[in-house]
Amino acid sequence: MTNMLEVADLGHTYGEHQAIAGLSFNVGAGELVCVVGPSGCGKSTLLRTISGLITPSHGSVDLNGDHLAVVFQDYSRSLFPWLSVQGNVEFPLRRTTKRAERRRRAAEALEWVGLTDAAKKNPWQLSGGMQQRVAIARALAYQPSLLLMDEPFASVDAQTRFELEDLLLKVRRELGATVLVVTHDIDEAVYLGDRILVLSGSPARLVADLKVDLPAVRDQVTTRTDEKFVTLRSRVARLLNVGKPTVDIAKWAAAERESLAEEALADR
């Protein structure tokens, strides 16, 4: 399997603060890899170095191909409100593609995400989940070597989130796209990924590189109750609690006190 992305000994510091340290991993063609880590651990920094938005202070990022696409968490700011849905999808193609071909690719991408009927609308006329679908369509129409997603479903409600997760699994199966999803949600990482990269707290280091041994076709109900899913989820959860014991002990102690107090109340 050829690698679409090779990250070697990647590190980045802002002034004194070291956000990520010594990260090395590869993403193979057609793979969907989830990066999961505690909030504020440097996941965003990792994503910004891979997408070229910041130059890392150490190490290297090699992309097999010359362009990648990003789906940001904040869809409402990432989309351009002055363009129609179709205009948004076509916008990144203007540089490279003729008008008729742009039209065709935009229509195709909107069909993949089920938004053919909304092509002429403005993004703000759509619900949050639909707006994020537009952002996904824009990224897919761009035909990137690597699709990066930064907490893509963190700003939508649970129901929509499940729909979008399944949508992502479907389109990437059909297109064979290479995807790297950054998330703080363990369940989501296990549900979506072929592989999970577990990061430690800041500075972010690679704690584990786990293979997800679940069938390619997944289902919100059966997959999430599958024994392998449950086992892997607990394993990732345990891994994430390593690395910042002080915080955990404080939290644990607080939770303990609370339950003791509740028991005392119940006893009376």
Binding site: H67, D74, R77, F80, W82, Y142
Partner: protein
């Protein structure tokens, strides 16, 4: 019909009061609106030479000055707004320059350009540039980081970034500046015509006042009001079209 009445009742009422008091008072400085309107009609509409010698040149200078200022203001504003360094250098200069009352520069422009069109244009351009420029700077700065990141990731070329992202994002602020500047253009057009020229609506105001023809003087003032009103209405129509993409209200956001 109801809205129409609502909009014009106060206006009509004031004019009616003026009419009444002008009849009762019979003061030569304040002729009744009926006379002023008749004079305005006869002098400004039925007299082709006044249209070609005064109205058209005045409005032409106003629009030319405003458009030149818009061109300079918007392009320079977008440039400065996207560069913190440039703004740090230019900021104090801009604040100083826009604090100068434009009419104070009329004597300077008279020396530089002598009397005539270039001096009048210079006055208008210098005066109305600042609201457009500063609003464009503000608008260009308001482009959020996610849109910048999105454009960088998709390798949007520079021209497409400026014209396709920065300009539309800044356009609500730019239009606010353009509206202020349009009213200001009218003011400066009149001021620039008060001295050293016999062409233009402003110069005709002075002529009428010197000839003690107060009705004609008021007619000129009414004409200026009508021109200002017309231009503003036209600009609002353009603005509504250009900014039609803006979310109108929270209610139909999820329609």
């Amino acid at each position: 019909m109801n809205r129409f009445l609502q909009r014009w009742t106060v206006f009509g009422g004031i004019v009616a009061c003026w009419q009444l008091f002008a009849w009762l008072g019979d003061n030569p400085f304040f002729p009744p609106p009926s006379q002023i309107l008749t004079a305005a009609w006869e002098w400004w509409v039925l007299e082709p030479s006044n249209v070609t010698d005064h109205i058209l040149p005045s409005v032409g200078r106003l629009l030319t000055g405003w458009l030149v200022a818009a061109g300079i203001g918007i392009s320079l504003g977008l440039l400065l707004g996207r560069s913190d360094t440039a703004m740090q250098y230019a900021g104090p200069l801009l604040t100083f320059l826009r604090s100068i009352p434009p009419p104070a520069l009329v004597p300077v422009f008279l020396l530089l350009f002598k009397t005539g069109t270039s001096m009048q244009l210079a006055t208008i351009v210098f005066g109305v540039l600042w609201p457009i420029l500063l609003n464009s700077v503000d608008g260009a700065r308001s482009v959020d980081v996610t849109k910048l990141d999105t454009s960088l990731v998709f390798q949007i070329p520079r021209a497409q970034w400026v014209l396709g992202v920065v300009l539309p994002a800044a356009s609500p602020k730019i239009f606010a500046g353009l509206r202020v500047s349009l009213s200001l253009s009218l003011v400066l057009m009149v001021i620039s015509e008060l001295v050293g020229t016999d062409s233009g609506i402003g110069s005709q105001l002075m002529v009428a006042q010197r000839e003690f023809d107060y009705t004609r003087m008021w007619a000129g003032i009414v004409l200026l009001g009508a021109i200002g009103y017309g231009l503003n209405t036209a600009l609002l129509a353009v603005e509504r079209r250009a900014l039609a993409w803006q979310p109108r209200s929270l209610d139909d956001q999820h329609a």
